[in-house]
Symmetry: C2
Subunit: 218 residues, 2 copies
């Protein structure tokens, strides 16, 4: 994705865990949500291989048994974190790209601005969970690969819909290929997030976004 | 970087190791080079955190002591792999972007074509070492961050020089900002490599490159 992480894990639908309640969050039914939230932070900062289950549990004061009550494996946990992040991000895109108070292209620019602000807020330590985990994908049977690919396809579809609206609003040439432009946007945006982490600067995000918007056919 | 890895580790300057010679490569003085070569493959496929020193040594049949004879730590090893890859890649860029038999923009297109071929050859398991390790950078004092940033700056400078030649050749508008276009190229190319790994397809590489070349000011 796009930038700094803030994944408000969904707590309301969590079923009551069996067995001994964890030390932290005991009786609040928030253990799974806390694991997802903390896991999102750690996986975004350190990646899947760089994140240890033990470190996660220590940070939360949760015993190992509770983790395996909720998740059969670290891999299943990682997939749950991706799903939670994807749901959070879909809501974010709906909010920004569905904002009728702005023109379609202004909405996309607002997304870029929020991404920049997020990178600054977390001092370039966190980029995009999906981009970070995507770099770790390598094996043929990696269960993350298809899921991450689906998430990008979903984001791409949302941006393409926004670009279609830009055509109707007269901000984008009617002949423009919205799907292709949306794919180009996500390719470049993920590359810009990577570079911003390395340079510890928002300059790559500005450079990519300015060039993207300038090059759109009117 | 740009794409499939092929890092011919430099062997000629390797000093003779003290201590017991490793099982494999004994007496050939190639131990360090073999470590770098195998490390490049593993780090490109699995990243820094996903690569274990034990797995590396097992694959090569080299005892642990030999590894620590050459490298004080896994981190020092990682930096050596980056340096080797950067040197390999600089030679590759020199070869492709300095090819007087082609126009400057045709040279850059040849680089794209070679990157695509590399991604196919390794079945999208390997992308760019620098991009992969770059995603893992997070901490303030990460020793990899500055080095990886320098490598990108070097590649960017080489592409900018090629674009300056494109101006002289009349392929690019004289008023174009070669440095900015080169930065844009690397941002998008790294994003395209990431996406190509996820989709297991060269389509993202084509989409980015075609859009990039089409948008260049003439």
């Amino acid at each position: 994705m796009p930038s700094a992480v803030r994944a408000p894990a969904h707590t309301s639908t969590v079923s009551r865990p069996r067995g001994r309640p964890p030390r932290a969050h005991a009786g609040r039914g928030h253990t799974r949500a806390a694991l997802i939230r903390c896991g999102t932070e750690l996986l975004t900062e350190k990646g899947f291989h760089g994140t240890g289950v033990d470190a996660l549990l220590k940070r939360l004061g949760i015993p190992k048994g509770s983790f395996y009550h909720y998740f059969a494996s670290k891999e299943e946990f990682g997939l749950a974190v991706i799903d939670d992040y994807a749901a959070y991000f879909a809501r974010k895109l709906d909010r920004l790209l569905g904002d009728a108070g702005r023109s379609p292209l202004a909405r996309l620019r607002a997304f870029v601005a929020e991404g920049k602000a997020g990178m600054l807020r977390y001092r370039f330590r966190r980029g995009c969970l999906v981009g970070t985990l995507g770099q770790e994908v390598s094996g043929r049977d990696d269960p993350f690969r298809k899921r991450l690919d689906q998430v990008f396809a979903d984001w791409q579809g949302r941006v393409a819909a926004c670009l279609e609206e830009a055509k109707v609003a007269g901000e984008l040439a009617a002949a423009a290929d919205a799907q292709r432009l949306a794919a180009f946007f996500w390719i470049g945006w993920e590359g810009a997030i990577l570079r911003a982490k390395l340079t510890r600067s928002t300059a790559p995000l500005d450079l990519f976004a300015d060039t993207f918007f300038d090059s759109l056919p009117r």
